[in-house]
Amino acid sequence: MSGFVHGLSYGAVIVTVLMTVTAFSLWFERKLAARMQSRLGPTLVGPAGILQPIADVLKLLQKEDIVPLKADAVLFNLAPPVAVVCAIGVAAAVPFSPTVVAADLDVGVLYVLAIGAVTVLPVFTAGWASNNKLALLGGMRAVAQSVSYEVPLVLAALVPVILAGSMRIGAIVQFQSDHHWFVAWPFFLGIPAFVIFVLAMLAEANRIPFDIPEAESELVAGVTTEYTGMKFALFYMAEYVHTLVASAVASALFLGGWDGGPFRPGLHWMVLKTLFLFAGLYWIRWTLLRFRSDQLMRLCWRYLVPSSIALVATAGVWVVFVG
C-alpha cells in the first residue's frame, strides 16, 4: 500500500511541476525564437511578458467548443485528453533524483518506449474522427512516421540498456554515476545513440523538423484542423509535455541524470540537463525547415535504422570484451 501512496503523491507533484514548466516553456520558447529573429516576443502581460501563458489559457478557455456535424463525436472528444495522458504517463518511470521518482520500474526503459508507441493512437484518432480530409492526411502521416521512427528509437534506447546491464532507468543513471556518462565514455557509442534517440523522439512527438502531420503550409493544421479552444490546447500541451519528458528520458539515459560529475549529485542536475536539452530542441525547431515526407522516410530507413543496428551490435561487443 505504501508503494501506492508513494506513487500517487510523487505522481501528483511531478505532474503539477511538469504542467507548470510546460506552460512557462511556451513563454520561454517565444522569447528565444524572438531573440533569434531580432524581435522582442511577448512583452505586455506581466514583467517581460512572463504571464503570457496564463493569458493564453484564459483566452482558450473562453473559446467556443465546436464539434463538426459529421465528426465522430465520441472519438473526437476523447482524443485530446488521451494524448495528454500518454504524454504525462511516460513521466511516471523517469527518476528525477535517487528519491524523486513515481515508480522506478524494473522495466522502466521498456515502459517509456511502450507508452511512447501508444501516443500515435490519439493523434490518428483525432485525424480520422474529424472527418476532414486534411486532418485524415495528417493522421496518416503521423502513423507512417511513428511506425518508422519507433525502430531506431527502440534500438538507440537499447544501447544504454546493454552498457548498464539493466532496464531500470534508476540503475542506468547509477551506472553512469559510478562510471562515466554514456556521452563521455564510450563516446563513440553514446554520442551517436544519443543523437539518434533525440531525433526519433522528436519524430515521435511530431516536432519540427518532423512535424509533417500538421504541416500548416500543406494541411492547414493537420490533425488539429477541426479542434477549437481547450481541446486544441490539449493537443498543444501534449506535444510540449511529450518533448519535455523526452528530454528528461534522454538526460537520464545518456547524460547521467542526477549525477553532477565532480559536484554533489541531486535533483537540480536532472532539472538543469532536462531544461538544457529542451532549450536545444527549441533551437533546432527554430533553425531547421520541415522535412518532406520522403526525406523523412529516407533519413529513417537508410541512415538511422542501419546505424542504430550497428550501434547495438558494437555495444554488445564492447560489453563482452571491454566493459
Binding site: 465522430d72 472519438l75 520500474l105 524494473d106 522495466v107 521498456l110 515502459y111 518506449l113 511502450a114 507508452i115 511512447g116 508507441a117 501508444v118 500515435v120 493512437l121 490518428f124 484518432t125 480520422w128 472527418n131 480530409k133 485524415l136 493522421g139 496518416m140 502513423v143 507512417a144 511513428s146 511506425v147 519507433e150 527502440v154 532496464m167
Partner: protein
C-alpha cells in the same frame, strides 16, 4: 482483494471491448476497440507480475500491429469505405463455432485441478533474458529466422508483377 478488484475490472473492460470489436460496423472503431483489448491483456500481465511481457505486449501489439492495421484500413479505402459490411454472413454457424470453442476451453479449465499448483516466483527480467538467450538460444534464433523468412516472403509477394502485364511502357 486489490488484485481481485483490478482483475475483474480489467476483465470486464476486455470482454466488453472484445464484443465491440466484432460488433462494430466501422473498421476504424473496431481496430481502436482491439487496441483497448490488447491494452487490457497487458494490464493482466502486469497484474500477474510479468512487467516485461506487459511492456512488450504494448510495444509490439498496440504500438506496432494496431498501428499497421489502422494504416491498412486507411490505404485500402476512402473514409466512407471504412464503414464496411463486416457483419458475418452466416451467424448461426459462427455462433456454433464460438460456443463450441468456449465450451472446450472452459471445460478444460474447469477440469484441471489448480488446488495443488504452487504459484512460481515470477521471474525477473534478467532471469527471463538468461533463459531466452542462454538455455533456449537455438529455439530463439530459429524463431527469428522464421520471422525473417516471413518478412522476405511478404516482400516477394508484394513485389511480384502481374503475370500478364500491359505492354505500354513501365508502370507508373
Amino acid at each position: 482483494m486489490t488484485f481481485r478488484l483490478a482483475f475483474w475490472l480489467v476483465a470486464l473492460v476486455m470482454v466488453v471491448a472484445a464484443y465491440l470489436v466484432v460488433r462494430s460496423q466501422n473498421l476504424v472503431r473496431a481496430v481502436l476497440w482491439l487496441a483497448l483489448v490488447l491494452l487490457g491483456t497487458a494490464a493482466l500481465y502486469a497484474l500477474l507480475d510479468a512487467p516485461f511481457l506487459a511492456g512488450v505486449q504494448v510495444l509490439t501489439y498496440v504500438g506496432g500491429v494496431v498501428t499497421l492495421m489502422i494504416f491498412g484500413v486507411m490505404v485500402t479505402g476512402r473514409q466512407e469505405g471504412a464503414v464496411a459490411e463486416i457483419d458475418s454472413a452466416d451467424r448461426i454457424r459462427g455462433l456454433l463455432v464460438a460456443v463450441g470453442f468456449f465450451a472446450l476451453v472452459g471445460g478444460a479449465i474447469l477440469k484441471t485441478d489448480f488446488s495443488n499448483v504452487i504459484a512460481p516466483r515470477p521471474p525477473t527480467t534478467a532471469e527471463l533474458a538468461r533463459s531466452l538467450l542462454d538455455d533456449y538460444l537455438l529455439a530463439f534464433e530459429v524463431t527469428s529466422l522464421l520471422l525473417l523468412a516471413a518478412v522476405v516472403g511478404a516482400v516477394v509477394l508484394a513485389r511480384r508483377r502481374d503475370p500478364t502485364p500491359e505492354t505500354e511502357g513501365s508502370p507508373r
